[in-house]
């Protein structure tokens, strides 16, 4: 049997679907963090969302959680309908690269030192690596419009043992080989490497999320003066 990563089209009967409570499913496309699998996940979400009784689908890197109204459709029927779906893996990937300004000053990058110590690099080298290449956006994270991207070549330390009660909007996080940019003040346990003045989510807009999965972002450093002047 061919691997999913080698296929352009696939039938969802090839993926593992398991129950997640009485009204949820996990559609598992594999364990690799690749554009290809992520493309399948997003393609599956847009089709599954249209099934009567489905309330939502949440894509993460290579998995799709589906939540449905079990009074409208049973788990077994829903799995049956999903298995009939065919998806194509070239719908998402875009050439767009967002240039994102980041101020890495200590007051914004509270874990820059922690990351450098862990990587055994100077802060300058850490920043250089952070800005070194475009990073692919896989999904939105724990907040509205909050892009989650990868893959860094260097592996930063894991989540903080004790989450912070407030991580300010615009905080640029880095955990392992993945990153994310927060879009509002919220609690969080990620290492913060810096902060961007760019607004990435606007609930009043018809298209509230600035950055879309399938696009890429590349960081560039700015001074705190430039941060303050940014509008």
């Amino acid at each position: 049997m061919q691997l999913l990563t080698q296929l352009v089209h696939t039938n969802l009967s090839r993926i593992k679907i398991s129950k997640f409570g009485e009204s949820g499913l996990v559609c598992d496309f594999g364990n690799e963090v690749t554009h290809h699998l992520n493309d399948f996940v997003w393609a599956a979400r847009s089709q599954i969302q249209n099934i009567s009784g489905v309330l939502y689908g949440i894509p993460t890197y290579n998995k799709l959680v589906v939540y449905f109204d079990s009074t409208k459709i049973s788990t077994e029927s829903l799995i049956g309908v999903i298995q009939q779906i065919k998806v194509t893996a070239n719908t998402l990937t875009s050439n767009k690269i967002w240039k994102i300004p980041v101020c890495y000053d200590g007051k914004y990058g509270s874990e820059l030192d922690r990351i450098s110590e862990y990587l055994d690099t100077t802060n300058e080298e850490t920043i250089q690596h952070h800005c070194s290449k475009p990073l692919y956006v896989y999904s939105y994270g724990g907040l509205p419009g909050h892009p989650k991207y990868g893959n860094f070549d260097l592996c930063a330390p894991g989540r903080l043992a004790t989450p912070k009660s407030v991580v300010p909007a615009g905080s640029v996080g880095w955990v392992g080989t993945q990153g994310g940019i927060t879009t509002m003040d919220a609690p969080g346990g990620w290492n913060t490497v810096g902060r961007t003045p760019m607004k990435l989510f606007d609930v009043t807009s018809a298209d509230p999320c600035k950055i879309k999965p399938g696009e890429s972002i590349q960081f560039y450093p700015i001074t705190s003066k430039e941060f303050d002047a940014y509008c």
Partner: protein, 290 residues
């Protein structure tokens, strides 16, 4: 236009309906009334659509001053009274419809053996829905009232009531507080080392609770899995274990995705029962036969 003024609010008074669906892939939480049984009940009494927006409060209810004519119906485990302008005091009865007039004051007391109470209105709320829902999202602070819980002095404007189409009364939900909550195994069940403790020992409902989650005090649940696993989408009722071994049940305003492993999921029929448990209540999880 009729108005409702919050002279005092409880700690967590919000507007809620069925919830905001189909936008979880861009990172919004579903929200929606915690106890939809009671939301449906008051709306059925008032002849509304079952998922018509209601005022939800937790622990302690609000004190409201009414202007113009307002029709309400309350449900939950709390006392309330209506103070008329002439000084007359009416002791409130649950699930009964009240026609209020200008300067009437509705005072809602503490929730007794439950945590969430509801006030239904035979009116529309003149606020802007977000993605089709009137629910206040306390996780990301979005939705009506700028996503904020109501504060003292806040005011809600209502549509003029066209009268009440008294519907067929529903069956009031069984509100007994259980000592057992049914679960199914979560996606990471097999990675935990002492699932027997999870099922055999008691959990305590702590005061660390809101519409996002409930922190439960119980056995320390150990796992040999990495806590830096990739995020997975969340659902209402998922039970997750933090790196320190604490147990958290995710409620209606849960974060849309998260990286903590999920040991179990509360069964649909027991979700409201868990959420409604009073603080300091003990219970056990019971695995539902599959």
């Amino acid at each position: 236009m009729p108005t409702v003024e919050f002279i005092k609010t409880g700690p967590l008074t919000t507007l809620q309906d069925n919830g905001r669906y189909g936008v979880q892939h861009i990172g919004l939480t579903p929200s929606g009334a915690i106890d939809k049984r009671l939301m449906h009940y008051v709306n059925r009494e008032l002849g509304n659509k079952l998922d018509h927006p209601v005022l939800e409060f937790a622990l302690q209810g609000p004190k409201l001053r009414i202007q113009d004519n307002v029709i309400i119906c309350c449900a939950g485990d709390f006392d309330f009274q209506i103070e008329k302008q002439n000084g007359q005091i009416i002791t409130g009865i649950q699930c009964k419809i009240y026609m209020l007039e200008s300067n009437d004051i509705v005072s809602i007391g503490f929730c007794k053996n439950h945590t969430y109470g509801y006030i239904g209105f035979a009116h529309d709320f003149l606020v802007e829905p977000l993605f089709g829902s009137y629910s206040i999202d306390t996780y990301a602070a979005l939705g009506p009232n700028n996503g904020k819980v109501f504060c003292n002095g806040d005011m809600l404007t209502l549509s003029k009531c066209q009268g009440v189409n008294i519907g067929v009364p529903g069956v009031f939900p069984n509100m007994t507080v259980p000592t057992e909550i049914k679960i199914t195994k979560g996606p990471h069940w097999d990675y935990f080392l002492n699932t027997n403790d999870f099922l055999e020992q008691s959990f305590l409902v702590t005061h660390k609770r809101n519409r996002i989650g409930m922190r439960l005090q119980g056995p320390h649940i150990k796992t040999n899995m990495q806590h830096d696993m990739l995020s997975l989408g969340n659902i209402r009722g998922a039970v997750q274990i933090t790196p320190s071994g604490d147990t958290i049940a995710l409620l209606s305003d849960h974060g849309p995705s998260g990286g903590y492993p999920k040991i179990a999921v509360i069964c649909n029929d027991d979700y409201e029962k868990l959420c409604q448990m009073p603080t300091n209540w003990y219970f056990k999880f019971k695995l539902k036969d599959d």
